[in-house]
């Protein structure tokens, strides 16, 4: 992209951020919540995309980081009386550590095995959270004391989303992104071209772990109650993957669009069809995976509405 286009995109992002900043004052509490969660899913989808869209290592257990962040914040706020903002920093740091520790062995696995291993890791973390009740209160969950107006978490999530978008954008449109894509395309050829695949994968994986953790922390403080099944919910990972796929894996706009569309659709069907909505959701997943594996961006590129490639 030319410099001109980069500036244009930055301005666009700024306008959207500004709009979202003024929005909550005119909205009902429900809509405010809805917007917050939409922004959260943008963060989640973009993060998942950094590891799974770019490098092709499909993480089927990314919710683990979300849950770790949620628990880190909840424990510190509820049991140790921290103010919630610094707990987000702890969540980020913890997620980075776990990302490196887990990523190093697990990224050696190929394709389907990596996916299953990550699923195992996420489920394993859930079980640990249930069992280690001295720390996590186990199945009882943690209730957080409420001291905020509903605006604090909104703005925190807005800031997180902007940061995530900027970082994903910078990576995606730079040579770093090109190299991550190269790893996905053909890891052996990539290494023969000088790319230290292990280091790049690990960096992408760790980075992709940090944002969901912070999001989980903000969410914990918003919802004021967490327990293992709710924060280590496998459907959250599915949502991340589906949103990225719907919008277009491996692009930057794709996950954003996918997150907004899917979350809105989900809320709409849940509100209007309370019993059948999960069946509709399942059907929707089937249709997207079957007919649009390259997502909306892929569709747009085929039609010539968008350019091929990320670096021009």
């Amino acid at each position: 992209m030319t410099r001109h286009e980069h500036v244009r995109n930055l301005v666009l992002l700024g306008l959207v951020a500004l709009g979202l900043a003024f929005l909550p004052h005119g909205l009902s509490l429900y809509l405010r919540s809805f917007t917050l969660f939409t922004m959260m899913y943008v963060v989640l989808a973009l993060s998942w995309n950094i590891i799974s869209g770019f490098t092709g290592y499909t993480s089927f257990g990314h919710v683990a980081f979300y849950g770790i962040g949620a628990y880190a914040c909840a424990i510190l706020v509820a049991d140790y009386r921290w103010h919630w903002l610094p707990t987000l920093g702890v969540a980020a740091g913890l997620a980075a550590l776990v990302g490196v520790a887990l990523g190093y062995p697990v990224l050696r696995l190929k394709g389907p095995y990596f996916a299953i291993a990550m699923l195992g890791a996420a489920e394993g973390t859930r079980v640990v959270a249930t069992v280690w009740d001295r720390l996590t209160h186990g199945g009882l969950g943690i209730s957080l004391p409420s001291a905020e107006t509903s605006l604090e978490t909104y703005y925190a999530m807005l800031v997180l989303m902007v940061v995530t978008i900027v970082i994903a954008y910078v990576i995606g449109h730079s040579r770093i992104g090109v190299r991550l894509n190269a790893i996905r395309e053909d890891e052996i050829a990539a290494e023969a071209l000088g790319i230290n695949a292990t280091r790049y994968k690990l960096a992408a994986f760790t980075l992709s772990a940090v944002f969901p953790a912070v999001a989980g922390g903000i969410q914990a403080y918003k919802v004021l109650y967490i327990d293992p099944p709710s924060v280590f919910f496998v459907q959250i990972t599915i949502a991340m993957a589906l949103m990225s796929m719907l919008g277009g894996k491996g692009t930057v706009i794709g996950p954003i669009v996918g997150a907004v569309l899917l979350y809105t659709a989900q809320e709409f069907t849940w509100v209007n069809f309370p019993t059948a909505h999960l069946i509709a959701y399942g059907l929707f997943i089937i249709l997207v995976a079957r007919f649009m594996p390259r997502g909306l961006m892929g569709f747009a590129i085929d039609r010539g509405w968008a350019r091929k490639g990320m670096v021009h």
Partner: protein, 328 residues
């Protein structure tokens, strides 16, 4: 064998010994281990029970490994097919008055056709795509199956009272009669499937395709047909597994999820498209689970953890799964 192969085998053996020792160590530390005759009898029962359970696991897990081997698709709805089998046998028992095991004569062909339909409508378009697409499409299918079942049957747990009472395998070891019958049925079916894969021309074609689909095509094997038959077979085996499970445990629409995860673990342990591997994996998993539930406090949650732990560590030591198939 290459040097690194041998090294990883040793490492694996060492790890497995440790893995099986852990429940004992934890149990000893917590005080659950007693070295008297009665406790040892308990232990033996648990191990035998585990072996029997493993036989049933292996039977439905092999379907998953077949689908993975032949089409390289991870069927995230496999547990739901097992659940479907459980409900089918429940319906035949309570509404048709038919013995749930006898009902398999009817339900297995239905399951086969279901598998065929799933393959033609859903899976065929997804073969050859990255694993995410297959995972998502089967996950969607699983969701539809779970919540349709919920609509029809509600989330209440169902059980089938069948062959109650225990059988004494030896004087010290007693297992439930229903478990023994399940095991025998599983063995019969498994032997049948094993022989089919080994001796029958179609079965051999399936194994060939699982090893290398391109070469199979060149050898004149109609790979399309193999895909369809494999999925049908996998579905039938899953439903059979469900029937056998239904006479032992309670179930509801969501119990399939756990079975899917266990089947995943068995794929990892057992490699792709290999019956013996699935059997070994199933046995390993079931025995470990039973040992854990006997000796480790908080047994049920830890059982899940045991499955994941086993799976992850085996993967880390041998990235191609237990049977050592090198990927890529």
């Amino acid at each position: 064998m290459e040097r690194s192969e041998i090294r990883s085998l040793y490492l694996l053996a060492a790890f497995l010994v440790c893995a099986y020792a852990v429940p004992f160590l934890v149990g000893a530390w917590v005080g659950n281990v007693r070295l008297d005759q009665r406790w040892l009898g308990n232990l033996a029962t648990v191990v035998v029970s585990g072996v029997m359970q493993g036989g049933v696991y292996a039977m439905f897990a092999v379907g998953l490994t077949l689908i993975f081997g032949v089409m390289r698709i991870i069927n995230a709805a496999h547990g739901e097919m097992v659940m479907m089998g459980a409900y089918l046998s429940w319906v035949s028992f309570f509404y048709l008055g038919v013995d749930p095991l006898l009902a398999m004569v009817l339900t297995l062909p239905i399951a086969f056709l279901f598998g065929v339909a799933v393959q033609k409508v859903l899976l065929n378009a997804v073969v050859g795509q990255p694993e995410l697409t297959g995972l998502l499409i089967t996950f969607g299918l699983g969701l539809v199956m779970i919540y349709t079942a919920e609509l029809i049957f509600t989330t209440d747990f169902r059980t089938i009272p069948y062959a109650p009472g225990t059988v004494h395998v030896t004087s010290a070891i007693a297992v439930g009669q229903n478990r023994l019958i399940s095991f025998v049925m599983a063995v019969v079916i498994s032997i049948g499937v094993y022989l089919f894969l080994k001796l029958n021309r179609l079965g051999k074609a399936i194994r060939a395709t699982a090893l290398n689909a391109e070469v199979a095509m060149v050898c004149g094997i109609d790979v399309q047909r193999i895909y369809v038959i494999t999925t049908g077979l996998a579905a039938a085996l899953a439903v059979a597994g469900g029937a056998l499970v239904s006479i032992q445990f309670g179930f509801n629409p969501e119990t399939g999820v756990l079975y899917t995860l266990q089947a995943f673990a068995i794929i990892i342990l057992g490699g792709r498209g290999d019956y013996v591997g699935a059997l070994i994996g199933g046995l390993m998993l079931a025995v470990l689970e039973n040992l854990v539930s006997l000796m480790v406090p908080n047994g049920t949650a830890m059982v899940e953890l045991a499955a994941y732990g086993l799976m992850i560590f085996v993967l880390l030591i041998r990235p191609g799964g237990l049977m050592g198939v090198k990927e890529g």
